[in-house]
C-alpha cells in the first residue's frame, strides 16, 4: 500500500513530511549521475588525446588551472566582482520587473500604454546597445549593472504580468466584496496568487543576469568571471575558459536551487501535481 502513497498527492502532508529529507537527499544523488558520466567520458577523450587540448582541455587539466586560479587568489577576485555585479543588476532589474509587472498587470490602462514599448525593448540585443550604455553611463560599474538589469527585467516582468492575469477572477470578486484596500489586494491576493509565476520569472532572471555578465564585462572591465573568460579566449587559454564556464554553471545552478527551496517553502499551500514516481 505505502508504495503507491507518494504518487498520490492527495495522500497529503503526512507523506510529504515523512519523506522530505530522504527524498531530497536521494534526488541530489541522482542529479549527479549524469554530470559525472559526462565528465568521465570527457576525461577519457582527453586522456586519449583525441581532441587538441586548446580546443577541449580534459577535466583534469581544467582542475589544475582551477587550483592555480584559486591559489593565486585571482579566482575569488573575479568571482566576487562578478557576483556583486550580477546581484546588483538582478535586484535592480528583477525589482523593477516585479514592480512594473504588478502595476501593468493590475491596470489595463497601464498595459495599453506601456506594455507594447516594453515588448519592443525586450528583443533589443545587448551586444548592440552597449555603445549607448557607454554613452549614457560610461565604462563604470553603473553601465554594467544596468546592462545586467536590462536583461533581468523581462522574465520577471512577463511572468509577474501573466501571473496576475492568470489569477482566478472569482477570488478578485471576493476581494471586491470584502473591499480590500488596493495594497491588501496586492499583498493578500495578487502576490500570493501569482507567486508561482513570479518565482519562475525570478529563476529565469537569475540565469539571465548571470549570463549578462559576459556581455557586460566585455565593456571595459578588468575583472570578473566574464572578463576572465573573454580575456582567456583572447589568448587561447581554453582551460581557463572552461574554468569560467564551470563557474557559470555552478553558480547558476546554486542560485537556482536556492530559489527552488524558497518555492517549496512558499508554495506549500498549493495542491498541485508532484510528478509521477513510476
Amino acid at each position: 500500500m505505502r508504495a503507491v502513497s507518494s504518487s498520490t498527492s492527495a495522500a497529503g502532508p503526512k507523506t510529504v513530511a515523512k519523506q522530505k529529507p530522504t527524498a531530497f537527499r536521494r534526488a541530489w544523488g541522482k542529479g549527479f549521475i549524469l554530470p559525472v558520466i559526462i565528465i568521465l567520458l570527457w576525461q577519457l577523450i582527453g586522456s586519449l588525446e583525441l581532441i587538441s587540448k586548446t580546443v577541449l582541455p580534459a577535466p583534469y587539466d581544467i582542475l589544475l588551472t582551477f587550483r592555480d586560479l584559486i591559489a593565486s587568489g585571482e579566482f575569488f577576485t573575479h568571482l566576487g566582482i562578478s557576483i556583486q555585479r550580477a546581484a546588483f543588476g538582478f535586484f535592480l532589474g528583477a525589482g523593477l520587473g516585479l514592480l512594473l509587472g504588478l502595476v501593468i498587470g493590475f491596470s489595463k490602462i497601464a498595459e495599453d500604454y506601456l506594455d507594447p514599448s516594453l515588448q519592443m525593448l525586450r528583443t533589443v540585443p545587448h551586444l548592440a546597445v552597449t555603445p549607448l550604455f557607454i554613452l549614457w553611463f560610461g565604462f563604470d560599474e553603473l553601465s554594467k549593472v544596468l546592462l545586467i538589469a536590462l536583461g533581468a527585467f523581462f522574465p520577471v516582468y512577463i511572468n509577474t504580468f501573466s501571473g496576475i492575469r492568470g489569477v482566478d477572477s472569482k477570488l478578485f470578486d471576493v476581494a471586491r466584496v470584502l473591499e480590500f484596500h488596493w495594497c491588501k489586494q496586492v499583498t493578500k491576493l495578487i502576490l500570493p496568487a501569482s507567486l508561482p509565476n513570479i518565482l519562475l520569472g525570478i529563476r529565469l532572471s537569475l540565469g539571465v543576469s548571470w549570463l549578462g555578465l559576459v556581455v557586460a564585462e566585455l565593456m571595459g572591465s578588468s575583472a570578473g568571471v566574464g572578463y576572465m573568460i573573454m580575456d582567456a579566449r583572447q589568448f587561447s587559454q581554453t582551460d581557463k575558459v572552461f574554468v569560467g564556464i564551470l563557474i557559470f554553471a555552478a553558480v547558476g545552478k546554486l542560485t537556482d536551487s536556492l530559489v527552488r527551496v524558497l518555492e517549496r517553502k512558499c508554495l506549500g499551500w498549493r495542491n498541485s501535481y508532484l510528478g509521477n514516481h513510476k
Partner: protein, 306 residues
C-alpha cells in the same frame, strides 16, 4: 566630465594585448605622473578596437591604442580623434597561419582554400593584400568570417585551411601547436601599423597632458626594450601565458613611440582606399587629416616643461 580646464580624470583605454601600456599600468607610472597635477587615471580594458571609438565618441575615453583598420573605420564614421604617435609598425604582427603538412607552401596555394579572418581587423586587410600579391582574386579563396577565438578551434580541427591572424595567436599557434606561418607582413613588405590616439577635444583643451602621456608611454616602451627579461616576466604574470610565447610575441611586435611617417600614412591611405572599394567604409577619407605629430615631437624632444 573632462571639459573645461579643471581636469580631474583621464581615461586610458588598453586593449587586451601585450602593450607597454600594461606595464606602465602595472607599475603605476601614469598614476604617479598625473597625480602631480591632481589628475586621476582611469583604465578601461577592451577586447577590440571599435568599442574604443564608441568610447571616444561618447567622450568617455581620452587615450587609446588601436590598430590600422579600426582607425580607418573610426575616421570614416566621423569620430573626432587624432593619431598622435605610431605605437607599432606591425610588420611581423600579422601573418597567415597554415597547419604543418597542410600542403600549402606558397601563397598561390591558397587558391580554393578556406581562409578564416575577422572582418574589419588588420588581418582582413592583410589577407586581401596577400591574395593580391599572389595574383589571385578575392573570389579565388573562400573567405570565412570568424572572430579569433572562434577561428582557433576551427583551425585546430582542420575546418579551415588557413587563418589570417595577428599576435599573440601567431606565436601561440606556432609554439603550442603544429602551425606554420605561411607569410607575414615582412615578407610582402606590408605594414599593419598601430597608433596611439587621443580624443580631439581633449587634445585641444589639454595639450600639455597629451605630451605628458606620451612621455610616460615612452618611458614604458624604453623600459620594455631595455628590460626584456623583466618585461617577459611581467606580461607572463599579468596575462598568465607562457614565457616562451610572450617572448616570441614581443620579438614580433616591437613597441614604438615615434612620429607617424609618410610611409605609414601612405600605407594607411592604401588600406582606406581598399576598404572603400570593398564598401566596408562608406566614404572616401584622407588619412592624413587625423595625423598630428606635434605632440610626439614635443614629447620626444623632451625637457620643455621640466
Amino acid at each position: 566630465e573632462s571639459n573645461g580646464k579643471d581636469l580631474k580624470v583621464i581615461n586610458i583605454g588598453v586593449q587586451q594585448s601585450l602593450s607597454p601600456l600594461l606595464l606602465a599600468k602595472e607599475k603605476g607610472w601614469f598614476e604617479n605622473e598625473f597625480a602631480k597635477e591632481g589628475i586621476q587615471v582611469k583604465w578601461t580594458e577592451f577586447q577590440s578596437g571599435p568599442p574604443q571609438f564608441e568610447g571616444i565618441a561618447a567622450a568617455k575615453l581620452d587615450f587609446s591604442q588601436v590598430g590600422n583598420s579600426p582607425v580607418i573605420a573610426g575616421q570614416a564614421a566621423g569620430v573626432d580623434f587624432k593619431e598622435i604617435g605610431l605605437s607599432q609598425d606591425g610588420l611581423k604582427a600579422n601573418g597567415i597561419l597554415v597547419k604543418k603538412g597542410s600542403g600549402i607552401h606558397d601563397i598561390k596555394d591558397l587558391k580554393g582554400k578556406k581562409v578564416a579572418v575577422a572582418k574589419g581587423s588588420s588581418g582582413f586587410d592583410f589577407l586581401y593584400k596577400v591574395i593580391d600579391r599572389a595574383g589571385l582574386k578575392p573570389s579565388d579563396v573562400q573567405i570565412i568570417q570568424l572572430q579569433p577565438d572562434e577561428a582557433a578551434p576551427a583551425f585546430d580541427s582542420g575546418a579551415i585551411d588557413a587563418w589570417s591572424i595577428w599576435e599573440p595567436f601567431l606565436s601561440l599557434k606556432t609554439i603550442k601547436s603544429d602551425a606554420d606561418i605561411l607569410v607575414d607582413g615582412e615578407q610582402i613588405d606590408r605594414y599593419s601599423p598601430g597608433f596611439t590616439l587621443v580624443r580631439s577635444e581633449f587634445a585641444e583643451q589639454h595639450p600639455e597632458e597629451v605630451v605628458r602621456f606620451l612621455k610616460v608611454y615612452d618611458k614604458a616602451v624604453k623600459w620594455q626594450k631595455t628590460h626584456k627579461k623583466e618585461a617577459v616576466d611581467a606580461y607572463s604574470k599579468i596575462k598568465g601565458i607562457d614565457k616562451e610565447v610572450v617572448e616570441n610575441v614581443l620579438n614580433n611586435t616591437e613597441p614604438l613611440n615615434e612620429p607617424i611617417s609618410e610611409r605609414i600614412i601612405q600605407t594607411q591611405q592604401e588600406t582606406a582606399d581598399f576598404q572603400y572599394e570593398l564598401k566596408a567604409i562608406n566614404k572616401q577619407i584622407d588619412v592624413k587629416e587625423v595625423v598630428d605629430n606635434s605632440f610626439i615631437k614635443k614629447a620626444l624632444k623632451g625637457g620643455d616643461d621640466e
